[in-house]
Amino acid sequence: QKEVEQDPGPLSVPEGAIVSLNCTYSNSAFQYFMWYRQYSRKGPELLMYTYSSGNKEDGRFTAQVDKSSKYISLFIRDSQPSDSATYLCAPQFYGNNRLAFGKGNQVVVIP
């Protein structure tokens, strides 16, 4: 069983739509749940992260974690063409710099 499962299927949405992305993970010891954004030919950059279960909002972005079901979600409201990128979930252990990435979701926002 893979540590992190993320359906990589490309997602195309019209500008202004809500984008919903999700991951599942297998290791219940993960405590921090990161979302990275990766533009073409660039390294990933940290978008936001949450600690344990719960929600976190940052502008148009909301991250949710349900540790009971080992399910991670990212929502993007009022999507913009500049949001077109690959989004990677990456849970991690506390105090351990190793990130376990999912395959990533490629998102295309059409003007």
Binding site: Y32, L46, R98, A100
Partner: protein, 115 residues
């Protein structure tokens, strides 16, 4: 402030050859990690260096080795290259004392093609 810098940006090698990739961490950072990202996949952790020692290692063969220098820069070496080693190699720098990776930054990577 320059972020994480990697060199070269692109590299073409043939099977069986050896390659060295280089990384300079963000100013103030002391820990360097290397990741391999195959096309259409997420980055996979190779290893991590702190205080010039390998601290953690992912599921990669011994053909992959590394080094960290006193100025915190790092090298990734891959021997006996295989076609499957073709990937984007990402360097990430961070602070050993940061338990959340909030201040972990990636470079833009080295694209390695093995023919």
């Amino acid at each position: 402030d320059a972020g994480v810098t990697q060199s070269p940006t692109h590299l073409i090698k043939t099977r069986g050859q050896q390659v060295t990739l280089r990384c300079s961490p963000k100013s103030g950072h002391d820990t360097v990690s290397w990741y391999q990202q195959a096309l259409g996949q997420g980055p996979q952790f190779i290893f991590q260096y702190y205080e010039e020692e390998e601290r953690q290692r992912g599921n990669f063969p011994d053909r992959f080795s590394g080094h960290q220098f006193p100025n915190y820069s790092s090298e990734l070496n891959v021997n006996a290259l295989l076609l499957g080693d073709s990937a984007l190699y990402l360097c990430a720098s961070s602070l050993w004392a940061d338990p959340t990776n909030e201040k972990l930054f990636f470079g833009s990577g080295t694209q390695l093609s093995v023919l």
